[in-house]
Symmetry: C2
Subunit: 477 residues, 2 copies
């Protein structure tokens, strides 16, 4: 007798073979119909129980959440929406789930309630679908890069380097937290710490990825990054996964081409490989939005939105053009923006990005050539002396999903920038070495993985697209 996943069984013909299947009970109707799910697919397998032939004690153990092994005959289904079902011959109860105490009952649970049960929520349709899409998206990312000549590199998580300034950091230490050893000057003596110096969790693997791009040519990271910012929003996590490709000999145009091609490819992969889950998630989102006013609902159903991104060119607009558009826009003139755009040099807020994407261009937008003053020190200065070769990819509903740039490859220009920012050059000796020895044009970008999962699944809160979200005041499990 063969054991199959439910995903496999649902693709089979009703051969009348005896098969075995394991899973958890979704529902048990009329003492006769078990809807069984094993996590391999959003769909359940119907198992028909001839209750006269089973012991009553056994039948009483079968309730939502119970784990069963069922063997039986694979027959044509009489029910709708499925081609096969199992006529159960034998049922073994791995484990029961007391309906009085098991929290995941067959009714609607709020996402907030399920966050408190993060260890069980993956047993629901919504979270199993989200996590299968998340897995597919991660594999799509690896597949894309591997097929295109990139090498995967693991940037360090614990870092002794604190010069990047991408955000607030978490300290990593093994010193006694109550009575840390002190130096003669009364400061905490990190020379006695595990790594012999003060260390933090990385905020980005970019600088290290650059060192690898300057040897392997094209590399990408895919690892966790951390921001100790007290942001309790639906778009921020203290621990999130980031993908950072970095390419030697790529200028900003090549970087923009890559980011667009990459995003389209991975979304197409999800469309091709997660159709059932996307259909479920699309329906879930429509249901959720029914209670919202029209203006707050999604403009397109989920799958149509993904196809729209895949099939349309991203609009490339310079920061300077974008400022002109925004300055002359209705919400700016009517003072509807919270932050009004008065002059060139203003940093763009989420409301501006969303206006450009959702109202003005009505497609994903790549903004480029930002003012140097509002961007990071490592971005390449343009000949105009005031803009840098930065780019941000802006998405409907999400805002910035990718941020990247051509990197400053000229030693003297980079040194001046570092000096102006009062960063100690010694902290970045190795990063500067890349400009001392065999420097070249190079570029890269960063994609926040959870933001992309949000986009692909239509989930509104970033806490619902990662198994165990870490946010201020929350590190349960």
């Amino acid at each position: 007798m063969n054991s199959y996943s439910i995903k496999e069984l649902l693709k089979k013909q009703p051969t009348g073979d005896t098969v075995e299947v394991n899973g958890w009970v979704k529902t048990f109707r009329s003492n006769r119909f078990i809807a069984l799910n094993d996590g391999s697919t959003i769909h359940n397998l119907q198992c028909v129980v001839d209750f006269e032939n089973f012991d009553d004690t056994l039948l009483k153990q079968i309730s939502t959440g119970a784990a069963l092994r069922i063997s039986g005959t694979l027959v044509e289904s009489q029910g709708r929406g499925q081609s096969v079902e199992i006529q159960a011959n034998d049922i073994f109860v791995h484990g029961e789930a007391d309906p009085e105490t098991y929290p995941i009952q067959p009714k609607k649970h709020s996402l907030e309630f399920l966050r408190e049960k993060a260890h069980l929520r993956v047993r629901t349709n919504t979270f199993s679908a989200v996590m299968r899409v998340r897995s597919a998206l991660a594999f799509a990312i690896h597949s894309y890069f591997q097929q295109n000549g990139f090498y995967y590199m693991h940037a360090p998580i614990v870092t002794g380097s604190d010069a990047e300034g991408a955000g607030e950091m978490f300290r990593v230490s093994t010193l006694d937290s109550k009575n840390p050893p002190l130096t003669e000057n009364g400061e905490v003596d990190h020379s006695q710490d595990f790594f012999g110096k003060e260390t933090n969790l990385t905020v980005s693997g970019q600088l290290e990825a650059e060192t690898y791009a300057m040897g392997l040519g094209k590399v990408y990271t895919f690892g966790p990054t951390f921001r100790a910012e007290n942001s309790n929003t639906s778009r921020h996590l203290a621990e999130f996964w980031m993908i950072e490709p970095e390419m030697a000999f790529y200028d900003l145009d090549a970087n923009m081409d890559l980011s667009e091609d990459f995003i389209k490819w991975i979304l197409q992969y999800v469309l091709d490989n997660c159709q059932d889950d996307l259909e479920f998630l699309e329906k879930r989102l429509l249901d959720e939005e029914k209670s919202k006013p029209q203006a707050e609902r999604s403009e397109m159903p989920l799958i149509e939105k993904l196809k729209f991104v895949v099939e349309n060119n991203f609009k490339r607009v310079s920061y300077t053009e974008a400022i002109d558009i925004l300055r002359n826009s209705k919400p700016n003139k009517k003072k509807k923006f919270q932050f009004l755009i008065n002059e060139w040099g203003a940093d763009l807020q989420s409301e501006h990005e969303r206006f450009l994407v959702e109202k003005h261009f009505k497609c994903p937008v790549i903004l480029f050539d930002y003012p140097a003053d509002i961007k990071a020190f490592y971005m390449r200065l343009n000949e105009d002396g005031k803009t840098v070769r930065a780019m941000d990819v802006l998405f409907p509903g999400i805002g910035e999903i990718v941020g990247g740039s051509q990197r400053e490859e000229r030693l003297e220009v980079l040194q001046q920038k570092i000096k102006a920012l009062d960063i100690d050059e010694k902290e970045l000796w190795w990063y500067l070495d890349l400009r001392r020895f065999g420097t070249a044009v190079h570029s890269g970008f960063g994609l926040g993985f959870e933001r992309m999962v949000q986009f692909a699944t239509g989930m509104g809160n970033i806490r619902d697209v990662i198994p165990y979200p870490r946010t201020p005041q929350n590190a349960e499990f």
Copy 2:
């Protein structure tokens, strides 16, 4: 004009087309032959310079490590070992590399020297080969699991759970390290910390992976894990990557089958996809071992060793059988083992594992059914009441490469175990919930990624198979 990677160019026919290529100079001989490498392959592309046609100033800029863009005609190579070369028409110097200061000169550097230059060492043949194999191995791991119905899950890195006891942990905090806030009792007040409690870096994602296996069926993690142990050996890192598959409805036999099939598949993938790098690394290892006494040299060349693992069954041996073999072994009787094996219950040391693998069975070995007392609390107790359903996969030269078990799925048995170990049940409420609701037989294992990279590349020191190793007193870059 088309731009190609060197890996692509070396596969082309000498068509006489004009092509463009970017890369770094490996060597420049006789003012005429540039060996160019762009990291895409271990092989260099020969670019022939008709020096009479080039400016002398330009030619002087061409030295080892300089970054160049060369365009020219793709012609049949006159040299050995390559089918095509480029007759250079135009050379652009992206960046020079002063031979007086550039550390990576075309001569033999010690691995120790290169560890100090971790930001540049990937430009050497050895490290570029290791890192390409590392990348391929990572992708093989994802591919294997995705093809076999597993879902990738990201276990949390920062954890508030400290009940697992797999090793010493690093504390993660944003509290003032010098003057942390204290409670009334004079203890550090972690309620004021970022996450509202004391948090650490994860030592394993297993417990969280179990929660996902009990919903999605088959999952795997692939993420960084941390051990704050003061182990300065060639086999230990404070930060390393681990792969942890976890499968509902798998018993220990199925777990052993999976681990063996998995290991063989990923090594076959590397054999199929990294032939050039493996040939280079095999030769490197042979060279390195020439200076060693015969007894310390590898028994097989690298590629033969990988094929041997792929083509032979792993020997499955119970702990009890292994103890018998070891007790009666020559090194035990002649007291050559550092730790003599006198009785059942002894923990096996690396010397014993290597004796079994390298001397006795001469093949990879899976040991199973260990004494409960020397294994973790979550492993399933056998009916004998004294052994647990644990398994370790032992590899030649490496020792333990995989450790796994069938998990204890019975609530009462697990509760007793937790109590006996004095672990607070409240710490593990969510882990116990898995046994309360729909519990089932399940299993999993952990593979230390860097150990596998060491095995596949023949590198002796684990610091040389990860871009930026973290070890006691070392978190540079």
